[in-house]
Symmetry: C2
Subunit: 153 residues, 2 copies
């Protein structure tokens, strides 16, 4: 299972690099069902001029389109960074079985860092796993912000 989790997180990391290449904070996500990736997403907030274009939300929307349903039972979401409240709420709304994230987000994380939305009495509670490829997921972010600082942005 850990080997499989790492393999899917590597694909999420590859998607995070696509976000960075377009000037967006590098976060990537995939959704897996029965061992297959059914949806991909990466952060496009700046490129898409959209407050909702986070990696997880884009992946959930793509998975709903693929499944033809708003219910994503039996699916696992892999994301390189701990979901924010919007994305954690979307995970609840979509009834995802399981969430696996890489790096923690001390400022906006809603899966244990600032709050844990999955333990607050809402009507669905996914299984939560953190720390898969945590170092790589953190490094892609710190490298991005270091490059921004070097440009004086």
């Amino acid at each position: 299972m850990i080997y499989e989790d790492e393999a899917f997180m590597r694909e999420a990391l590859r998607l995070a690099e696509k976000a960075a290449a377009a000037g967006d904070v590098p976060v990537g996500a995939v959704i897996v069902k029965d061992g297959n990736i059914i949806a991909r997403g990466y952060n496009q907030r700046e490129a898409g001029h959209s407050a909702t274009a986070h990696a997880e939300l884009s992946a959930i929307e793509a998975a709903c389109r693929a499944a033809g349903s708003w219910r994503l039972h039996g699916c696992t979401l892999y994301v390189t960074l701990e979901p924010c409240p919007m994305c954690a709420g979307a995970i609840i709304n979509a009834r995802l079985d399981r969430v696996v994230y890489g790096a923690k987000d001390d400022k906006a994380g809603a899966c244990g860092s600032v709050v844990n939305l999955f333990e607050m009495g809402f009507n669905h509670r996914p299984i939560l796993k953190s720390g898969i490829l945590e170092e790589e997921c953190g490094t892609v972010l710190s490298r991005f912000f270091a490059a921004l600082r070097a440009k004086g942005k």
Copy 2:
């Protein structure tokens, strides 16, 4: 201000009726800037087969397209039902100035009922007002659910 709030909530109620007509839980939303409606949305979860197609999220996405920016400074969101965690999180992400809602949501409300996401230390805190046209906003929902029960669904 209360007269203006009621006028914009009436438009949100009109949009909620569009959701109901398509078989979706009737929730409607508008986003206002400088006294003008710049975006509208209504719940299309069932019709759109999408876990993220809530009224508020649709309105925020439309407002970002209209503004050409993920930042919705200076805007107020009106919604007939208290936002869920996903939508409250999107409100934070979009930096909306103000949120006005009608009816409370005891089961999924993230603006005071189950939790208040705007008071948990995240990096933006909109002004919050509730109870505008609360009775009408609640009635549109209870009528929808009564009709569903009558159909034995």
